[in-house]
């Protein structure tokens, strides 16, 4: 039976998952959930996804957990996205955690402040936004150091940890931040991720491949 992804075509977390389907060459059906109509909070949806976000298949939610499941289930096809060797895997976990605690926390809040709030009819607060970007930039200074010595965040091979940055990283210019482009190694790294066919296939919205 073909795997089904339930999500929103423009959702950052849904794109995170769809990118991995593409990398692993896993065909998937797509069921679009309309946020504007509140479909993600409807009882039938919440029964499967109690936190009311996005999900799939044998019923698994949380985009990074879904990405890991796809990578492990289809480890032998497409791009290897999680190393097997214990220490290399430890480095991957470190990078994946850095994405969560040092990047996403600021990048997603900044995108929320200057973009998603507008969709909800609210007014962005420039002080909040600027404070978040300042923190993000301090973290990206560290990324620039790390990426001056190696090609990707966990070493010389791309991993899930790199790809996880794509959805919010790609929205930063749209909200007025050049934090990525202004750091040479970060810019190089991020562009190489954006050039990947898997991201090109989902960056403007998601459609099914099965």
């Amino acid at each position: 039976m073909v795997l089904t992804l339930y999500g929103n075509p423009q959702s950052t977390c849904t794109k995170r998952v769809a990118t991995v389907f593409q990398e692993k060459q896993v065909p998937f059906k797509f069921v679009a959930i309309d946020f504007a109509k509140g479909e993600h909070k409807a009882p039938e949806f919440v029964a499967k996804q109690p936190f009311g976000q996005d999900d799939d298949g044998y019923i698994i939610y949380e985009s990074r957990a879904i990405a890991r499941y796809i990578e492990e289930k289809f480890a032998d096809q497409g791009t290897p996205l999680i190393p097997k060797d214990l220490k290399a895997k430890g480095q991957f976990e470190q990078a994946a955690s850095v994405e969560v605690s040092n990047f996403d926390v600021y990048a997603s809040a900044a995108v929320y402040e200057n973009l998603f709030k507008k969709f909800q009819g609210q007014t962005p607060d420039p002080d909040v936004f600027n404070a978040l970007i300042k923190k993000l930039e301090a973290k990206l200074d560290v990324y620039d150091q790390i990426l001056s010595k190696q090609k990707y965040l966990a070493g010389e091979e791309v991993t899930l940890a790199d790809l996880a940055h794509l959805p919010y990283g790609s929205l930063l210019p749209a909200v007025g931040s050049n934090a990525i482009e202004s750091r040479p190694n970060v810019a190089r790294w991020f562009k190489s991720l954006q050039d990947r066919p898997s991201w090109q296939a989902v960056k403007d919205g998601i459609t099914a491949t099965a």
Binding site: E62, R68, K89, G90, E93, Q94, V100, N102
Partner: protein
């Protein structure tokens, strides 16, 4: 060479790693990094942990930072001893990942902010905490814990009937919120309370709940 944990006594992330080392029966040394003296920003420290945060481990020359990855690394390296903390079967493992992600995204941001605002910042600055803000965060946490209560009505732990790293990862902030910070959000939800008290009773947590003071080697 014995594994060395570099961290701060009262750091929740340091507790997370120490608890995991104890669960797996892994001897370790502990080196104090005094956050109040800014030792985590010293150049020599930042060569090992470039973000200037605690903790990190040195496992015979292999340096790793970020508490959850360290916990995972220990759980995997020592999979054959102590409590199994990460399932190996594909679907059980994915459900663990789901639960671990929930801790990271649905619980940790609220819990850590609440603890920082109510306990840490007042201690550092002497300015009394904003109770209204804390109450708002607890209302938000309560909404999440309502879902936890549903999940835990049907199974013993968040990923199934076996304890995993996902459950344990909640403890450092839960202990502070349920205790000193004085919220009732855990005790108002019977399944959540049952789950929390079982986790808190574990010897590995009892050993570090008041802070990590020393290693075991």
């Amino acid at each position: 060479m014995v594994l060395t944990l570099y961290g701060y006594t009262r750091s929740t992330c340091t507790q997370r790693v120490a608890m995991t080392l104890l669960e797996k029966g892994v001897p370790f040394k502990f080196v104090l990094v005094d956050l109040l003296k800014g030792e985590q920003k010293a150049p020599a420290y930042m060569e090992k942990q470039p973000f200037g945060q605690v903790p990190y481990i040195d496992d015979d020359g292999f340096i790793l930072y970020e508490s959850r990855p360290i916990a995972r690394y220990i759980a995997e390296k020592y999979a054959g001893q102590g409590e199994p903390l990460i399932p190996t079967e594909l679907k059980a493992k994915a459900l663990f990942e789901q639960a671990f992600s929930i801790e990271n995204f649905n619980y940790n941001p609220i819990a850590s902010k609440a603890v920082f605002d109510k306990l840490v910042k007042p201690q550092l600055t002497g300015i009394p905490p904003d109770q209204t803000q804390f109450d708002t965060l607890m209302t938000e946490l309560g909404t999440k814990l309502n879902v936890y209560d549903q999940i835990l009505a049907k199974q013993k732990y968040l990923a199934g009937d076996q304890v995993t790293l996902a459950d344990l990862s909640h403890l450092p902030y839960a202990e502070l919120l349920h205790g000193k910070a004085g919220t009732k959000v855990f005790e108002e939800r019977p399944n959540v309370l049952r789950w929390l008290n079982e986790l808190r009773a574990r010897p590995s947590w009892q050993a570090v709940k008041d802070g990590v003071v020393a290693g075991t080697a």
